[in-house]
């Protein structure tokens, strides 16, 4: 259990590590080129891993709805945005604002899709996140 918890924390560290390295590549090239290499090298790595472990086409992937295939192009913009932001506002600020956006849009998506959940907890969570964003809002005076 502790081992799996450590792996879950490591997964988060790898997200930050990936953004840091992609951000450095974007400093020498461009945010879009950094996003391209992120996807191509990731593709090669996953292909090799899938060949080693097998089961890439297991299940019924053809049966999934067409819109489920749109994650790639969305990810290109996401990685490019992260690479562009991290060199400008820092790793922590980038991570916190992306998490804030993910959580609040996730709540909105859950409500649209009718996912069950506590409205009170969602309300308190969103309020705390908005308060956190307010604290570092742009245009305030730094003292």
């Amino acid at each position: 259990m502790i081992g799996f918890a450590a792996l879950a924390v490591l997964a988060g560290v790898l997200v930050g590590l990936s953004r840091q390295i992609n951000g450095r590549l974007a400093l020498s090239t461009s945010a879009m080129e950094s996003s391209f290499w992120n996807h191509l090298i990731g593709l090669i790595f996953i292909t090799l891993a899938a060949m080693a472990f097998g089961g890439l086409f297991a299940g019924e992937p053809v049966a999934s709805p067409w819109w489920a295939y749109l994650g790639g192009p969305v990810g290109v913009i996401f990685i490019a945005a992260g690479s562009w932001l991290i060199a400008r506002i820092g790793a922590a600020q980038t991570a916190m604002l992306i998490i804030a956006g993910q959580m609040i849009s996730g709540v909105v998506l859950d409500i649209i899709l009718g996912a069950p959940g506590s409205p009170v907890a969602r309300g308190i969570g969103v309020a705390l996140i908005l308060a956190g964003m307010w604290v570092t809002r742009p245009g305030r005076n730094r003292t």
Binding site: F4, L7, A8, V9, A11, V13, V15, G16, L17, Q20, I21, S28, T29, S30, M32, E33, F36, I41, G42, L43, I46, A50, G59, S64, W67, A68, Y69, L70, G71, G72, P73, A81, W84, L85, A87, R88, I89, G90, A91, A92, Q93, T94, L97, I99, A100, G101, Q102, S105, G106, L109, A115, A121, R122, G125, V126, L128, I129, M133, V135, P138
Partner: protein
């Protein structure tokens, strides 16, 4: 004092928040793929279509290279770290941690690493010391996220 390089402007703010919204869509799209196919497939497809989309955008927009000198080779390896993330989360999601525990612990790892990365200026990015307001903001956003993850719903 708002023109210091570490003070985010409104468009930075909007871009990062919007990127978080894109991440929610990616989780929905890729998660749906995983419901029909294998976890490898759910990560392989977006990397394949993403590579093609990024190449098309590069050819179309032809962004200028920021520096003439070639970047060090290790800077091209960010994608390996990203692909490993998918495999790790797929593994821990199916343990007692479940999806909420996986997301919460991943969030903790990401926040702590990003703070450390800023303080040390890791991997050649600018160094940045977080101030009291940054820590307060971080605590509020983390607390709100944890409440949504553990009490806000089934997802």
């Amino acid at each position: 004092m708002n023109d210091t390089p570490d003070a985010p402007r409104l468009y930075h703010f909007a871009a990062a928040f919007g990127a978080g919204g894109l991440l929610s869509l990616m989780v929905l799209f890729n998660g749906t793929l995983a419901a029909y196919g294998s976890l490898f497939f759910a990560s392989w497809v977006p990397h394949l279509t993403g590579s093609v989309a990024a190449l098309a955008l590069l050819i179309w927009l032809r962004p200028r290279r920021a520096a003439a000198a070639r970047p060090p080779l290790w800077t091209y390896l960010g994608g390996v770290s990203g692909a490993l993330t998918v495999m790790l989360t797929s593994a821990t999601m199916n343990t007692a941690l479940a999806l909420s525990g996986t997301i919460a612990l991943g969030l903790a790892g990401q926040v702590l690493f990003s703070l450390f990365a800023d303080i040390r200026g890791l991997f050649g990015l600018p160094q940045k010391m977080p101030g009291p307001r940054d820590y307060l903001s971080l605590a509020l956003i983390t607390a709100g996220s944890l409440i949504i993850i553990f009490f806000g719903g089934a997802s």
